[in-house]
């Protein structure tokens, strides 16, 4: 804002109307700015802004706050993803060019009213999609629990120590195809049948950072690891 002497003597109403008038003129000058860098900055800025509106309103909606205004912010953001760049990379430059070169009455009308037509179409699409949302526009951020991927495999590994040997068993065997026990980079035991009990000798275990340790992996039929347990010999209770 430039502050002239007139501001000092203006009534609050005059001052406000001058500020609003200046803001409106600034907005128009930004809207119609047509250099390559302006086109790019406006297009990318609106793309990011649209993305922000779309995702943020989707997020709040998916948590169950069903405010009508959020539905329209969501559709505004979604449409803006395409319409922001379209407006400032295509429509505005085209309208400005037509204002200079249009000769037929139809083209002259488009040149004069192009931006209004474009904004009207944009707002109409926003209102329609806000009222009747389409699939791709709605993201659900609530965690989904899906059936069909097998039950939750999470048994306890229970181990005891005696006479230089370590004996372990699982609290459940469901959903496990086989169990592999490794120490360092060596496989020391593999169990293919339930209930997947095993006994290993302490002197078979490699020392890692000063501790004898072993790793027990529960695997499915494809050899993918379902659960992994790391145990230190020194922390296993004696029988």
């Amino acid at each position: 804002m430039t502050h002239s002497d007139a501001d000092a003597t203006a009534s609050p109403f005059e001052f406000l109307s001058r500020v609003l008038g200046q803001a409106w003129r600034d907005l128009l000058s930004v809207y119609y700015a047509n250099t390559p860098i302006w086109r790019l900055l406006k297009s990318v800025g609106l793309l990011f802004f649209g993305f922000f509106c779309w995702s943020a309103s989707n997020l709040v909606l998916s948590y169950g706050i069903d405010w009508t205004i959020l539905r329209y912010i969501r559709s505004y953001g979604f449409v803006l993803l395409l319409w922001g760049p379209l407006t400032h990379a295509v429509v505005v430059p085209l309208v400005i060019r037509l204002r200079r070169s249009a000769e037929s009455p139809i083209l002259r009308t488009i040149a004069r009213q192009g931006s209004k037509i474009n904004l009207s179409i944009f707002l109409a699409i926003v209102l329609i999609l806000g009222t009747f949302p389409v699939g791709p526009m709605t993201l659900d951020f609530q965690t989904t629990l899906q059936g069909g991927s097998g039950s939750d495999v999470n048994p306890d590994l229970l181990c005891t120590r005696s006479d230089g040997e370590i004996h372990c068993h699982l609290s459940e065997s469901e959903g496990i195809d086989h169990v592999v026990v490794t120490s360092g980079d060596r496989e020391v035991e593999r169990v293919d049948d339930p209930p997947f009990e095993f006994t290993i000798r302490e002197d078979e275990l490699e020392e890692v950072v000063g501790q004898q340790e072993f790793v027990v992996e529960l695997q499915d039929e494809d050899g993918d690891t379902i659960r992994r347990y790391r145990r230190y010999a020194s922390s296993i209770p004696n029988k």
């Binding site: 790019l40 995702s55 360092g184 950072v209 499915d220």
Partner: protein
């Protein structure tokens, strides 16, 4: 006379008999010793960028599980190499170069102790090679360290040794900078340092704090791995480690802001709106920014709630306040400086009439905007005790530091590299068009990739540092497959960003090898609007000019900040209804 090893003539400029030359762009007196050492560290940094960038491809293509490039073991090794080469080696080599620019170059001095500088470089390279070798040759029972290398994780002692060597090398390489600052103050006791030198000095102090923290973490861990000591306290290690773990990123931040002040002044004609205010902001960084590292311990035992709240609220806001000061001061400086030259034109004319085709300018501006909106806002949020709960160890954290270290620091350093190619290596870009496009392409692609990282992390709870969660969490009914569409966008834009990174390396290296040599007067296009001669009254005070464009931009930034903040708090309130 070029050195016999200098086959490409990269270290060969024309100097006067006293070893100095006058830079036609900055007007600074640059000594041969400064030129050559900035080039040495800068080139090494670009090699690290190239090497770490290769792993950006393998890591991103693993996280995009439709491709699923690597298995779990290889993924962790590749992720470690990606982290160390980009987050540490690319950054730190470049930062030493920035210290030499901000110190002796801006002050018009020769670089003292050049042998020490070279020795520092050699030790740093040795440490970097050792760290890379240790990670590559990781085999069971050892694990790849990633960046954190937490005790008591079994990690190769070679890695800890390499990290210590690299840290010591960095301290050695920084010594010539400290000596030149010392001599400057001894010779001119009553004279204030230029703002960029002051910023570099603050950076160096923060760097020393961080490096000492690193030695306190990695040193005992090395002794423990060599079994010279029996045991090391994991909680103590973590607290010491994060002094360097996040401290290095604070060095990146302050160095980046020094680069912002330097490059906006040189290529955009920015003035400093208020020296005192900008310096105060740097002082705030000095006291508070390293305390922000505490947010890494918010989900850990062993530190009290009072300690957490002090460090991540009160203290950290001191650093945030400093960042917000710079966020206004730098664009306002550009606006006032350009209006003074008659380049105003309405609300944003000063910005849009700026030299956008100059990659030095566009890199700097994108760095400012993207660091602020994506890296800065998220950093302040997740560095807070309460909001951290929804961010901690999710992929959104990775999004945050790609917003700061990549979109902020890396993009700014790329701009600096473009500047150094033209003004120190004296080479024209091998392709003006490609050089102009690169910052736009890279920043836009990386911007979207970073947004997606944050989205899948914060909205779906996708964890970080894991190779397979969306397609398959074996043995559970829990599914994250709803995040697949956003991961697809992430994967595509990560690839595009890597293409943008490759483009940078091609343009940079191509310009050095094939670019035409800059002759007298060829760099005139880099000088902002032809210099201050354009201004009607060059001596006008800066506050005689409007800064309303910057004010509006800051209001938009503030609005984004407030809305994002509110949304995150809302998310937090919903946290306890998970699974309900």
């Amino acid at each position: 006379m070029a050195h016999k090893l200098d086959v490409l003539g990269l270290f060969d400029n024309e100097y006067r008999d006293d070893g100095f030359r006058t830079c036609s762009v900055t007007g600074l007196e640059v000594h041969r010793s400064v030129d050559n050492h900035v080039k040495l560290f800068g080139l090494t940094a670009v090699v690290a960028l190239l090497y770490g960038g290769i792993f950006a491809f393998t890591v991103a293509m693993t996280r995009w599980e439709v491709i699923g490039l690597l298995g779990a073991d290889a993924f962790y090794t590749h992720l470690s190499l990606h982290a160390w080469n980009l987050l540490i080696f690319w950054m730190v080599f470049m930062e030493v170069a920035i210290l030499y620019v901000g110190g002796p170059m801006v002050l018009g001095r020769r670089l003292p102790l050049t042998r020490i500088a070279k020795a520092g470089w050699a030790v740093m390279v040795g440490g970097a090679v050792l760290v890379n070798y240790a990670i590559w040759t990781t085999e069971a029972p050892n694990e790849a360290p990633l960046l954190t290398a937490y005790v008591p994780m079994p990690i190769s002692p070679l890695f800890y040794a390499g990290a210590c060597v690299f840290i010591l090398g960095t301290v050695v390489a920084a010594l010539p900078f400290f000596v030149s600052m010392w001599r400057e103050k001894r010779e001119n006791p009553g004279k204030t340092l230029p703002l960029v030198s002051f910023a570099a000095f603050v950076t160096s102090i923060i760097a020393v704090e961080a490096l000492v923290g690193g030695l306190l973490a990695f040193g005992p861990a090395l002794l423990w791995r060599l079994e010279l000591i029996q045991w090391w306290d994991a909680a103590w290690y973590r607290q010491m480690y994060w002094i360097i773990g996040h401290g290095t990123q604070q060095i990146n931040l302050v160095a980046m802001i020094a680069v912002w002040y330097f490059l906006t002044h040189v290529v955009a004609g920015a003035e400093v709106v208020s020296e005192k205010v900008s310096r105060t902001a740097f002082i705030l960084y000095l006291f508070f920014i390293n305390l922000g590292a505490a947010h890494h311990l918010l989900s850990d035992p062993a530190v009290s709630t009072g300690w957490r709240i002090w460090n991540t609220s009160y203290a950290f806001y001191g650093a945030t306040f400093a960042s917000l000061i710079h966020a206004f001061a730098i664009p306002a400086g550009i606006e006032a400086g350009r209006r003074k030259r008659g380049k105003g034109g309405g609300l944003f004319g000063w910005l849009t009439s700026a030299p956008w085709s100059n990659p030095v300018f566009s890199s700097t501006i994108f760095s400012i905007i993207l660091f602020g909106f994506l890296g800065g806002i998220t950093g302040v949020m997740m560095g807070q005790l309460q909001l951290n709960m929804t961010w901690h160890n999710t992929f959104a954290t990775v999004g945050h530091f790609h917003g700061t270290v990549v979109l902020g620091t890396t993009v700014a350093f790329m701009g600096l590299a473009f500047f150094v190619i033209r003004t120190m290596f004296m080479r024209q870009y091998v392709s003006e068009r490609l050089a102009s496009i690169q910052p736009f392409f890279y920043s836009a692609a990386m911007g979207v990739a970073v947004l997606m990282m944050m989205y899948v992390g914060i909205l779906y709870g996708i964890p970080r540092r894991t190779s397979e969660v969306v397609e398959n969490i074996p043995g559970t009914e829990f599914s994250l497959s709803a995040a697949s569409p956003l991961f697809a966008i992430f994967g595509i834009f990560a690839l595009l960003a890597i293409v943008g990174g490759v483009l940078f390396v091609l343009v940079a290296v191509g310009s050095l090898v094939f670019g035409d040599r800059v002759e007298n007067g060829d760099n005139a296009d880099l000088i902002a609007d032809g210099g201050l001669g354009m201004a009607q009254d060059p001596d006008d005070p800066v506050h005689a000019y409007e800064m309303r464009g910057t004010f509006v931009l800051c209001l938009i930034f503030l609005a984004a900040f407030v809305i994002t903040y509110l949304l995150n708090w809302y998310l937090l309130t919903q946290l306890w209804s998970i699974g309900a």
